[in-house]
Symmetry: D2
Subunit: 445 residues, 4 copies
């Protein structure tokens, strides 16, 4: 991915400010792992999940490889084998551990990875504290490194959830808070008192501009901004809730192929899907595994951990459809979506939250935060997109086929990491991210 600045971008902030941001982001990654035991940081229960230890080391390798090796005079590599161990997918940078084998490596242990982090952090601090002028390209990489590490924070949160979920002991990542008296049940949003009916909000057709058009940082895949023609459509004013989704389950939605894409149906049958990931039924009650342990399904919270196939089947069942990427972005701009009111990583709730009972039915809620919203748009390059030269050209560009775009961020996204133009992408079968459903419909449909 290409760090990109809009033409009117201001000069990069002065070094102390960069250092403070760097240290805050780095501290956040480690804070996410603080509740873990060393054993939790090693395992890889499915191929999409990486061991937390690996995330901590890979983000560090990124700084070492792209910044320190290039810009820090006399920088000493922490260990010559770490590039092989912690390169994720950059063919430009040589061979690496197979993705499927990340969970077979007990060494280096967590302690060594933390020492690696300290080594790199010290070198970065020295570099950022120095008076010497660094070239603009350095600051672009610095910004990219921060954004990259924030992306791995979201993955850390969701990978940790998956790792803990595999144990029949269903351990809680977030302990109940004795001081505040908050119990995990409450943290998981189990208040089912106030189900709001969703309402439909109209967006008039027209030519709209999408893609990054603001100041500051964006990823290369948000460029170039361009015009799209959008027909009049309507969007629901909130995410689909667990109560909504239970109606689909109870209506036999998982057993009626008519609602499903063919590949989704085959997969759901082969794997025996009956509900979203993490849901289990005990004595006729649905529970779901959360960062707070196993909790009853909160009816008015947004449904999450569903694949595109499920989101699409639900929409078909509900007589609606998923929005396209262009529609989603247009709506977000039209309704003036902001991060306020959304649930973000910083809240430490790590669970999408119900809409307040008194939420304005005429406003469009939850566009940013809580759940990534599946769109019915393939993740393709925007017009005029070009891969960067060198290793960073592999950041985004080589994934631009066979995946779908998700928008809006989630309860595991750092709040200052999101933008309206932000494009996330996953394969249609993935369920371990905080993914949810926003319904759309055409005017006449």
């Amino acid at each position: 991915m290409l760090p990109a600045y809009s033409p009117s971008a201001p000069a990069p902030p002065a070094a102390p400010s960069w250092l403070a941001r760097y240290q805050a982001v780095r501290a956040q990654s480690q804070a996410l792992c603080a509740p873990l035991l060393p054993e939790d940081t090693v395992v890889q229960p499915m191929i999409d999940v990486s061991p937390p230890k690996w995330h901590l080391a890979h983000t560090t390798w990124f700084w070492e490889t792209f910044l320190l090796k290039e810009y820090a005079p006399g920088y000493q590599l922490f260990h010559p084998d770490y590039a092989f161990l912690f390169n994720s997918y950059y063919n430009s940078l040589g061979s690496r551990v197979n993705r499927a084998d990340r969970g077979t490596l007990s060494r280096p242990p967590l302690a060594d990875v933390l020492a690696y982090r300290a080594h790199v952090d010290a070198a970065l601090a020295t570099l950022l504290s120095a008076e010497a002028a660094l070239p603009p390209a350095f600051y672009e990489l610095l910004e990219l490194g921060l954004q990259h590490e924030q992306q791995h924070q979201e993955l850390l949160a969701t990978d940790i959830k998956y790792i803990l979920s595999t144990s029949p002991l269903a351990p809680a990542y977030i302990e109940e808070n004795e001081e505040s008296g908050m119990r995990n049940e409450e943290l998981a949003g189990a208040d089912n008192s106030s189900l709001s009916e969703a309402s439909w909000l109209a967006v008039p057709g027209g030519i709209y501009r999408v893609g990054f058009q603001e100041e500051g940082f964006c990823f290369d895949n948000e460029l170039a901004a361009h015009d799209v023609l959008v027909a009049h459509f309507e969007l629901q004013n909130r995410l689909v809730t667990n109560a909504d989704y239970l109606a689909f389950i109870d209506a036999g939605g998982y057993h009626d192929f008519r609602y499903w894409m063919g590949e989704g149906w085959d997969l759901a049958q082969a794997q025996g899907w009956e509900a979203p990931l993490y849901w289990v039924k005990r004595d006729d009650t649905w529970y779901r595994f959360t960062h707070h342990g196993l909790q009853p399904v909160a009816l008015n919270a947004p449904v999450t951990h569903i694949s595109f196939y499920e989101a699409d089947a639900y929409a078909n069942w509900a007589g609606a459809r998923l929005p396209t990427e262009a529609e989603w972005e247009t709506a977000a701009r039209y309704f003036g979506a902001t991060t306020r009111g959304g649930t973000w990583l910083e809240s430490s709730l790590l669970d999408p939250q119900p809409l307040p009972a008194d939420a304005d039915p005429a406003a469009c809620h939850q566009l940013l935060g809580d759940c990534w919203e599946w769109t019915y748009s393939a993740y393709h390059a925007y017009p005029g997109y070009a891969r960067a030269a060198g290793a960073l050209g592999e950041y985004n560009g080589k994934f631009m086929v066979n995946q779908l775009v998700l928008r809006g961020g989630s309860c595991a996204t750092p709040e200052n990491h999101i933008r309206i133009s932000y494009r996330n992408f996953f394969h249609a079968d993935k369920r371990w991210q905080f993914t949810g459903i926003r319904l759309a419909r055409s005017f006449n449909s």
Copy 2:
């Protein structure tokens, strides 16, 4: 898929005319199998390929199931087990042989399948010859059945090619023609004398209407016609040739990950791709397996049997890109593409042909016929698309994810089967169809 008529569609033709069309289409399917031995009609050397015997029976099952069972009074099923054997993918119509097992069934033999065809053809002839009025829905299904059988004719041609290719004997499907003196070498277009340089043709930006807007039949996936906003772009005036593609091979294109989508690169490495499907190198010369046996690569013929991954990598290497679906259709309408001059199934050449040496460089050639052209657009539903009720709702709708659109038809498509708005679709890795490359570029790229 939904048989669909534009509002101004004329009344369906009278029965005799329908019968003549029916018989012509049915005869064409059998004519395609005439050069085969019974043994050739049984095997399934890869999962995408179906045995020719199966195609002959499945198309017959379609007529029996959707027309005769519904509209022919007193129709007797040919055999009660054939629905299990020859249903392709309709969940609505019960269980069926696994797709991967189609090549394990020697029975019923070809002779029985031909008897099945005769049985159904006789019943259809009786029905179509009767004086009794049939409802409009019947004629919609009749039209759909014809289109469906034509689709399987293209698959027959490409599946037969794959089947014959697996033998080290490299048998020719089309024998040399002693009367005309044509040798297979000539039939395969081996004249390399006149390589034309491709030129770029501009299409001005604007709002264009795409999708089916004419009279007559279209598939449901071509609807609804709708407006798209297309930026100014340029298209090459011909398909990429084997000579063009050899330059990519010789430049190491198969060994440089920078040009490739990540999933394409991994697949190409795992399977050791070095050239298009069917190409083999002997004594430093490239040959390719064709319906005319193993033939030298014809330099000025269009390259074919390439995956989307290869088409995309080639385009990246060439400093261009693939067109989007909207661009392709807009260009085809803008340049007034017709089927004239294209190579079609009816030619029996079964190989894309070189552009004549005197082709007009200012005209856009080969848009229809010769090779399906990969677009960089996912196969998604058009705005306003809705699946039909019943089994035919499975015809197109359930495939609308994870595939890419191809446009324009090929040398294995019946000429009267194609339209500018026709949408074909395959997964990005498929290579056994007559797929090719048309380059596009944005104005400023």
Copy 3:
């Protein structure tokens, strides 16, 4: 495998006699394929099964490779690619089609394979009719070729059964005989009137000699004859019947892990085994697919098409065990087993037959013919065994691990192909051969 003669072997028979034997064996292979359609000769519905066309060609390749190329002056290969196509597993003789891909090849068609046979048969006939003396090694290979072709006759019979079984049409290989008035039901032995109780026959302990000790041909794996110490044991006087085996099924034998080897249990669960291969239950009645079509299970016929795992589990359930290979051979010699009364390939019944109602309870029946009897002995080399030099060293020796010995021949074995010392071998999970169960027990168990 090594063609081996005991020291006192007579001189090989004169040429005409060899020719007559050769022609009889070759004719038998083709006769087995006569009821097939060309389509039946192509498919490979599982990896163990080879297409009949392949068997016909592979046996011919054997004659061409080992005899004609070596001993027939000026012999012309029928086709240069056939060695690649029809070599089975001889690494010494170069690369070959993957075993799993045998069913993907439609070419050469059956007609070409039959022409191949005629070509080789003519060359052999010329060679055998010539006056010129041929060296002893030639006659050893000639004998081996005959034995090899007979082995493939058994495989032809069982592979054809499997091929026809995959069709839901359940076609009969052997048609009902109108002249004799025999119906398939009778041919399949459905007379259930006279179930004989099995009796136990004792064999005294002692030192016995096993392995080939007679005159004439044997395979290398039957050598060297050697002494074994066998403790006193008892053997049942007949094969286990379908009635016996149904009691095991009805007692829940397929659902009680205590009777099973661990690997057998896991396999049976994963594949959902509930009965022998080819059994299906309709309306509470068990049927089984046979060469005579789908027939009711004949209660007093020997159970067949069971894996070692099932044979062993049955024996455990019955409070007995399978005999060791040494016990089986010792018993066969002790009781003077002959081929008389057994069911063999020549009978064309292709189904193990019930013991006559008046069979002597004091005699040991069915030791030779009807069903191969699983022993509880791994297929290992005998003491003093040595692989032959050259390609034929691969005939038997490289399979001598991970398989189990079966003894006695079956209803698909040519009668003059069997010997008491004959060692057949299969993996423990195989079920498509005519395999059955003979129970043994130790004196005190």
Copy 4:
């Protein structure tokens, strides 16, 4: 497996002595894990390897399940889910974690497993210290539990080696000993000064008794003792060394199918075997990964970490063969093999050691200890063997097919765990145990 006492077995030792043994064995298991980090105790880099944490818990579950639940009044289960987590393969005892998933579970962490051990140890200590008489069956289970835990000590040692080997960091499990001045290089036996030539020792033919015939404990698979007829044969007086094996490698043994079993050859080709497991070549020198880190191959140490396929191919290449199980045991009894001089788990060397330079060439060395010796005998039940009732009937009996017997123990076996009649067994392809080669030959071969 059945704990079995020979008829003349003495009364079980008094309680204090049992407790001391119990505590010593349990302490040994934990001592083996002491050098590990928590991270090392979690991973499962291949299916045969279990996480050390799992071994520590599974052995504890064995005590809890078979002894405490049955014999300790009022015993409280440590945790209700642990039976699901730590049952290995006992179908009798309910469902369990899939073997392949043992490495996906980070919880319970090592600390909880150690607490589990302490809980069970305390309960056992109470039970063994009590005055109350316990029935004989209890002591049989007690003995079995000790033997079982010792078996897992060997697996711990070999699994730990495999786990550490997967890291490119090649960490040493056993640190260099500063006090003694021993360096890892020496500990790994790199002294190559004194290669002894192997000599052949004769064993006269005759009837010998094999199987357990002594006093004390044996596993059920060593019973019943029985007579075997063994022909005159010869055995090499020592294990095959790395120097011997290098000659096989250098002669192209890994590239000549003639020496190999067919299945072994296919596997070796598919996996690219070029040397024993753990060997790597750097700058033309062979190194191997050991518990002491990566070390040069010690020429006069026994070759180890080879599959049966390699052992058999080596023997074929060397013009010899592997001994049968009966030959091995007969030789061990004939030569009076003892555990003296062998390398055992207690030495902490965890590597087979070279024969001393002055070893008596007329004596048979290394029969017990250093390396398990592959025999050419399938692991089948002895005559008269019967599975125990209940869960312990699954201990040995259900594995008695498709594996080969190994004899003599290894450098990872506790010295007091071995016997001449001890039967170990593995599949022919396994290489991660300390397996080695002893050559045999028949008199005339």
